[in-house]
C-alpha cells in the first residue's frame, strides 16, 4: 500500500515537473519580439481598444507569471482582444521564450 502511494506520488511529481518547466530561450524570442514591442516597448503607449490605459510594463516580471498570463489569454480565461489574438497562435515554447526575455533584470545582459 505504501509502495503504491509512493509510486503515485512519483508519477504526479514527474507529471507536474514536465508541465511546469519549459526552458525559455531569450535569444530565440528576439526574432518574434516585433509582435510585443509595438505596444509593450514604447514609453507611454496606451491601449486603443476597448478601453484606454497604459499597456503594462513587462521588464523584470517573473517568467512563470508571464507564461501563465499568456496561457490564460490563449485559453480565453483572461480577455483582451489583441492579447488573445496573439496568444492563440503561440506555442508553449514561444511563451517560455518571451517570458525568459522579459523576466531578465534591468541592466543585465540583453
Amino acid at each position: 500500500m505504501q509502495g503504491r502511494h509512493l509510486l503515485i506520488g512519483m508519477a504526479l511529481a514527474i507529471a507536474s515537473a514536465s508541465a511546469a518547466a519549459l526552458e525559455g530561450d531569450s535569444e530565440a524570442a528576439r526574432d518574434k519580439l516585433s509582435m510585443c514591442i509595438g505596444c509593450h516597448g514604447i514609453p507611454g503607449y496606451r491601449t486603443a481598444f476597448p478601453e484606454v490605459y497604459p499597456v503594462p510594463k513587462l521588464g523584470g516580471q517573473h517568467a512563470q507569471y508571464i507564461v501563465r498570463a499568456l496561457q490564460a489569454y490563449r485559453d480565453e480565461t483572461r480577455r483582451h482582444p489583441s492579447m488573445q489574438a496573439i496568444a492563440r497562435d503561440l506555442t508553449d515554447q514561444e511563451m517560455a521564450d518571451f517570458a525568459a526575455y522579459y523576466s531578465r533584470p534591468q541592466g543585465g545582459a540583453r
Binding site: G41, E51, Y53, K57, G59, Q61, H62, R79
Partner: protein, 107 residues
C-alpha cells in the same frame, strides 16, 4: 498683489477640480498590508506565483483592480480581495505600488 490673488484662485480651482482622493500613494501604503502578504512589502513579490506589481503603471494597476471588482477578470484570490475596496482605495493602492522600484519598460 492682485496677480498673486489670481494665481491663488487658479490653483484653488485646480485643486477643487480633482476628487478628494486623487491617487494618494501615502494612504495606499497604509492600507497595503494585505497586498504585501503575496505581492511583497513594496510590490516585488518574492515568488513567481504572484506577479511583481512594483513600478507598474498606476493606471494599469487600477484598471486591473477595477476589472477584478467588475468581474471582467477572474481570479478567486483577487476577486475576494477587491470586494471590500472602494475606487479611492484602489487608486491609492495603485499609486503606492507604482511608486516603488520594480518593473521596467523593456524594448
Amino acid at each position: 498683489m492682485m496677480r498673486r490673488a489670481y494665481l491663488f484662485g487658479a490653483m484653488a480651482m485646480v485643486v477643487a477640480a480633482f476628487p478628494a482622493h486623487a491617487w494618494d500613494a501615502a494612504r495606499g501604503k497604509e492600507i497595503s498590508a494585505v497586498c504585501s502578504a503575496c505581492h511583497g512589502v513594496d510590490g516585488n513579490s518574492p515568488t513567481p506565483d504572484f506577479p511583481i506589481i512594483a513600478g507598474q503603471h498606476a493606471e494599469y494597476l487600477y484598471r486591473s483592480l477595477l476589472d477584478y471588482k467588475l468581474g471582467n477578470r477572474g481570479d478567486p484570490i483577487m476577486q475576494g480581495q477587491v470586494a471590500e475596496l472602494s475606487r479611492a482605495d484602489m487608486r491609492d493602492l495603485a499609486a503606492y505600488f507604482a511608486s516603488q522600484d520594480g518593473l521596467h519598460l523593456k524594448r
